[in-house]
């Protein structure tokens, strides 16, 4: 794990309850809180992704109107979705997910600042 020194030149200290990089601290409690929120976010998006992705072959197998009825020119709903809208769906999912994940990172930042400030107040900085 020593390779982290390649991109972090600060003294990395800590134990199993917190990690410090310079003035920046992560505690296991704050990381756990954000991890749970992150896990909820990722798995919610994952569920939507797999539901939509697997609904395409399911519709191709069982929904006649989906794969056989032309809705514009020669486009069936199946063709139009797989040939264009599926990619649009991926772009929107990836963008909104990234935005929300960034907000979670900011939440961790605020929590860490509060923890550091509290530690300074209590005079127990290591």
């Amino acid at each position: 794990m020593g390779d982290s020194k390649l991109h972090v030149v600060s003294t990395v200290t800590g134990d199993d309850t917190h990690v410090r990089h310079g003035d920046h601290v992560d505690t296991i409690q704050s990381v756990d809180i954000v991890f749970r929120a992150q896990r909820k976010l990722s798995f919610s998006y994952g569920a939507v992704f797999f539901a939509v992705t697997l609904s395409v072959p399911a519709s191709s197998v069982w929904w006649t109107a989906w794969y056989s009825v032309e809705i514009w020119g020669g486009f069936t709903a199946n063709y139009l979705f797989v040939g264009f809208f599926y990619f649009l769906f991926l772009w929107v999912m990836a963008w909104t997910y990234s935005q929300q994940a960034d907000k979670l990172d900011e939440r961790l930042l605020m929590m860490a600042e509060e923890i550091t400030a509290r530690a300074i107040d209590e005079g127990v900085q290591s």
Partner: protein
């Protein structure tokens, strides 16, 4: 010989080599050689990842698959793109935050055992070799089409494999990850440029998307196949001979040639056209705008899952996330990758459809192209891109497209060589063989590993026709890519997902899951090869297992289940699991780097200290 096309390919090659020599001055440390100094920004890294990912299979194969199979070919493209959704949601950011060099580093850091690191190294090497095989085969076949003759006494196929292996070995060993990254960025944009040009020329030629789709879906998809004179008159299970099926499709004039071939009693084969059948809805015709030409109901599901899970298990793609300066940048990179490859694949869908009418009309008007055709269709759909380039834009466009095909091979094999070299150089040499090696020695070993793996890639490329694999599989490039995806998805993805998202994963659980996934995937793949070569039959358990086209549907859940069960039974978490958790999901390191400007990108060209 296509002189102008060859000049453009040579130009691309010289530029690639020049870029590597230029980047050499910026490569001093192992972090430079393997990770481009971790200074690659989101947009640049997305371009490099796209170049890394879009291989010959994507550039030539996807458009060809759509040309031959319609909607089922597009489903293939959608699966390729969908894989990056899994990467952005579950893997990209945590992997980058862990801040190492390789996937094997992650396994070691997360579970703290040399055993799992070495198993990961073996899996990385096997996945890389499986993925190199179709690229080298593509190099040989593209040379056959483009140049048509060999050099230095070698045949055309061997010449292509040798030349491409030599060029890639040189540019990767000289330029390392920085040179490879710069090349992959350039090569991706060349690919995108070539694809967009063909699309623009197709629309300029009068292509109307909805109307062409309607016209091409009026009658069943037509495929072609080569038969010997004897095979043409043997009835199938429905009591219909290939000759009779061909007569339903081909013109009287075309059938005269078939009759003459049969009457001559000549050896060899003749290619005929026939209407395809619908594998999904046998009662319906196999139409271009409907599913069922390529995949039955089971494969409609298993194919897309194999591609989605496989993308998240490709080590040369995962390694690229370590070159980003932060977890946030890794997420943003993946978003841009989805945009880039999405646009690329939408272009492929247009080219695949447009090619049908354009080539048929061109040939009907008396035009000739440098590819075999039957009934107005290309015998080898993988030749669609260069053939369409030749028809729509002459030698110039064909040259740009051919250079694109070589760019696709260069960028992907370059990434694979770096991944394989880092597995051997960083994960084995630096950690176990010579821990005190100087930076110069480490980089020198990495370069030696690149050359060694290029040699292995060369041997694999040459052995494919030797063992008759090119005859056993009708779409060999796509098949071999599927194998690489299956090995990666079965070996890595269960370990990565549980290692990142379930604290209760133990070293024994992860190791057992990796072994089960890896061995399971390899077993099914080799049984499938043996079945195609006629060594084993289709009956019994072996026959059933050997007939599985996409092993990942079985091996991924098996690996995942093994990890969960063994971890629960074992219960021995790493002693410092909380600290590991903070390293994967915490951001203190990134905040520190941001405070002091260490997260800045754009300094990839600064000289390393």
């Amino acid at each position: 010989m296509n002189t102008l096309a060859i000049v453009l390919v040579v130009g691309l090659t010289l530029f690639t080599i020049g870029l590597s020599i230029f980047s050499r001055r910026f490569t001093r440390t192992t972090a430079d050689f393997y990770l481009a100094g971790r200074k690659v920004g989101s947009f640049a890294n997305a371009s490099a990842i796209s170049g890394d990912y879009l291989s010959a299979a994507s550039f030539l194969g996807v458009a060809g698959a759509i040309y031959a199979s319609g909607l089922d070919g597009i489903w293939y493209a959608a699966g390729f793109a969908g894989g990056f959704m899994l990467v952005v949601l579950f893997i990209a950011s945590p992997l980058r935050r862990f801040g190492e060099y390789t996937v094997a580093d992650f396994a070691f850091g997360r579970f703290g055992s040399s055993r799992i690191r070495l198993i990961t190294v073996i899996a990385v090497l096997l996945t890389s070799l499986f993925y190199m095989a179709p690229q080298m085969y593509g190099a040989g076949t593209t040379w056959q089409v483009l140049v048509g003759e060999g050099i230095l006494g070698m045949n055309a196929y061997t010449s292509g494999v040798v030349v491409v292996a030599a060029i890639i070995a040189f540019y990767v060993s000289v330029g390392g990850m920085k040179g490879t990254t710069m090349n992959q960025i350039f090569q991706f944009w060349w690919l995108a440029f070539a694809m967009i040009l063909v699309v623009i020329f197709a629309f300029g030629n009068g292509f109307d998307y909805p109307e062409t789709l309607k016209a091409e879906s009026q009658q069943p998809i037509v495929n072609t196949k080569a038969y010997s004179a004897g095979e043409l008159v043997i009835p199938d299970d429905d009591g219909v001979t290939p000759y009779e099926r061909a007569a339903e499709v081909m013109t009287g004039e075309e059938m005269v040639a078939v009759d003459q071939f049969i009457a001559s009693g000549a050896d060899g084969t003749i290619r005929v056209a026939y209407y395809a059948t619908n594998k999904l809805h046998p009662e319906r015709q196999a139409l271009f705008s409907e599913p069922g030409h390529r995949y039955n109901g089971f494969d409609q599901f298993s194919m897309v899952l194999a591609l989605v899970l496989g993308t998240a298990g490709l080590p040369h793609i995962l390694n690229r996330y370590y070159t980003n300066p932060s977890g946030k940048a890794a997420r943003r990179s993946t978003f841009w990758v989805l945009i880039f490859i999405g646009v690329f694949y939408i272009g492929s869908t247009i080219v695949g459809l447009a090619g049908l009418g354009i080539i048929r009309e061109f040939l009907a008007d008396g035009g000739t192209i440098n590819a075999d055709t039957v009934h107005g269709l290309l015998s080898k759909p993988d030749q669609l891109m260069p053939a369409l380039g030749e028809i729509l834009g002459g030698q110039w466009l064909m040259g740009i497209v051919s250079a694109g095909a070589f760019a696709a091979m260069f960028s992907t094999v370059g990434g694979l060589l770096i991944a394989a070299a880092s597995a051997l150089g960083h994960d084995v040499y630096e950690k176990y063989i010579n821990k005190d090696a100087s930076e110069a020695k480490r980089v020198a070993f990495g370069k030696t590993a690149v050359l060694a793996f290029a040699g292995v890639a060369l041997l694999i490329g040459l052995s494919i026709p030797y063992f008759g694999l090119d005859q056993a599989y009708p779409a060999l490039i796509a098949m071999m890519v599927t194998w690489a995806f299956s090995v990666g998805a079965s070996a890595f993805v269960p370990m990565l997902l549980t290692g990142i998202w379930w604290k209760g994963t133990t070293e024994k659980g992860a190791t057992a899951g990796m072994v089960v996934g890896l061995v399971g995937a390899l077993t099914i793949i080799f049984l499938n090869i043996l079945q195609q070569l006629g060594v084993i039959g289709h009956d019994g358990v072996l026959g059933f297992v050997g007939s599985l086209t996409y092993p990942v549907l079985f091996t991924f859940p098996l690996g995942l289940l093994t990890i969960v069960i063994v971890s629960k039974l074992d219960g021995q978490l790493p002693k410092n699991v909380d600290r590991i958790w903070m390293r994967i999901h915490g951001t203190a390191s990134e905040r520190y780097e941001k405070q002091y400007g260490l997260d800045k990108v754009g300094s990839m060209f600064s000289k390393a200290k």
